[in-house]
Structure formats: C-alpha cells, structure tokens
Symmetry: C2
Subunit: 124 residues, 2 copies
C-alpha cells in the first residue's frame, strides 16, 4: 500500500479524516434517544472543527458553497452527544439531541418514506 | 426550479434516486436491534435493485469498480429489514440484521472509535 495514511487510519487513534476530492467526508446524524437516522450531510475540515469546538453539528453546504450550522435559521440545532469515525475515516457518525425537526420539510427525520415493492410509503 | 424531479422527489411516493455524477447514492446501514450505525457505503442503480430483489444489502465498490453483496466472501450478510430514502433521494437508510461483524476489520461496526478532544478513543 502506497498510502502512508492507510494502516494507521484504520488501527490508530489519530483523527486523520480522508477527505474526498471536494474536501468532504460524509456525516450521518442519528437521534440519541430513538436511534433513528435523522439526516445525511457533508463536513469539510472547517465544519468538523466547528462541530467539535461548539458541540453543535456544522456541515458544508454543497449547494450554497458555505459552512452552515444546522438550525442557524430554523433554531433546530443538533446538540452533539457523541462523534465517531469509521474504519477508513471518510465518514463521521454524529449522535445528537435534536431541538426540532431535522428535515427542511418539517419532518423529524429526512428519511420519512420507506421503499416497498419499488415505490415509496410514508414511514411516520 | 428547473429540475423536473425536484418537488416530486421530496413529496411524492415515486422512487426516483438522485444519483451523483458517478451514478451513486450514499447508503447508511444501521443494526435493526441496537440501532447502531454499522457502515456507510454506496449504491448504484444495480446495487439498489439487487438489494430490493434479494433482501440482502448490495453495494457498489468504488475501489474494485464492481457490484458486491456484503458478506459474499465473509458470510457476514446484511439481511434487510427496512429500506428508507431521504428527502432529496440521494441517500438510502438500510435497517438490517447483521449475520456477523459488518466491518472488514472484524469490528461489529465500522464506527469503533469515538472522537474526543481531537483524538480517537476505542468505542467498544
């Protein structure tokens, strides 16, 4: 393996995120109480640092091209209970307490539809 | 909005995944019993179809450039209990029963390390 990060990324205790070509890692937010997946978003180094420093989830908005604190407008912030990183450090798991609906549609979770027989069914 | 899929993608009951430039959506797998996030991977249309048809999680391997059924070698298949899609249909939530460790490292979950004070701490 020519990647100098390779082995230590998986086995080590150094935070060394594997950002993609756009400088991002995937962030999955789950609800601390229900365990439900609330949303999937992206973090760059700045968003990850802001999340760690503030204890509130920050992301990188690909559509707006800027850092955003979840809830900065709606008030529905995500208070971080725990942050985890996966084996190859290209995904972050955010366990959070949600102050309100996590989805911009007003749904508690962005995953408000089940896939059944190739179609969608309301899940909540 | 010029995207003809835009509104119906969020409010409709038609499965219409928003694949990225590489033809992929993000897939988050959680354990049906514990609720823990087990892994994050990617699905193309073929992987999503195979997952729906078989009831076992299939992904697209970006490193190997091919379809793979999780557990095809290790036996640690992920039996799908429920599939959900998010608001803009670019992420899939797979709720699954895991036949064994989900991570290639042998860990139950790929997220076996917590981020604390900028470093990593074993989580399990």
């Amino acid at each position: 393996m020519t990647d100098p990060h390779g082995a230590s990324r998986e086995t080590g205790l150094t935070l060394d995120p594997k950002y993609d070509a756009a400088g991002l890692v995937t962030a999955v937010v789950t609800d601390r109480v229900s365990g439900d997946v609330l949303m999937v978003a992206y973090m760059n180094a700045e968003a990850l640092a802001a999340t760690q420093a503030s204890g509130e989830a920050h992301f990188w908005s690909r559509s707006r091209g800027r850092l955003w604190k979840k809830g900065e407008t709606s008030g529905n912030v995500l208070q971080v209970a725990e942050l985890r990183v996966d084996c190859d450090q290209d995904a972050i798991w955010v366990i959070a307490d949600a102050a309100g609906p996590a989805c911009h549609t007003g749904a508690r979770s962005c995953f408000y539809r089940r896939i059944e027989d190739g179609a969608l069914v309301p899940a909540e």
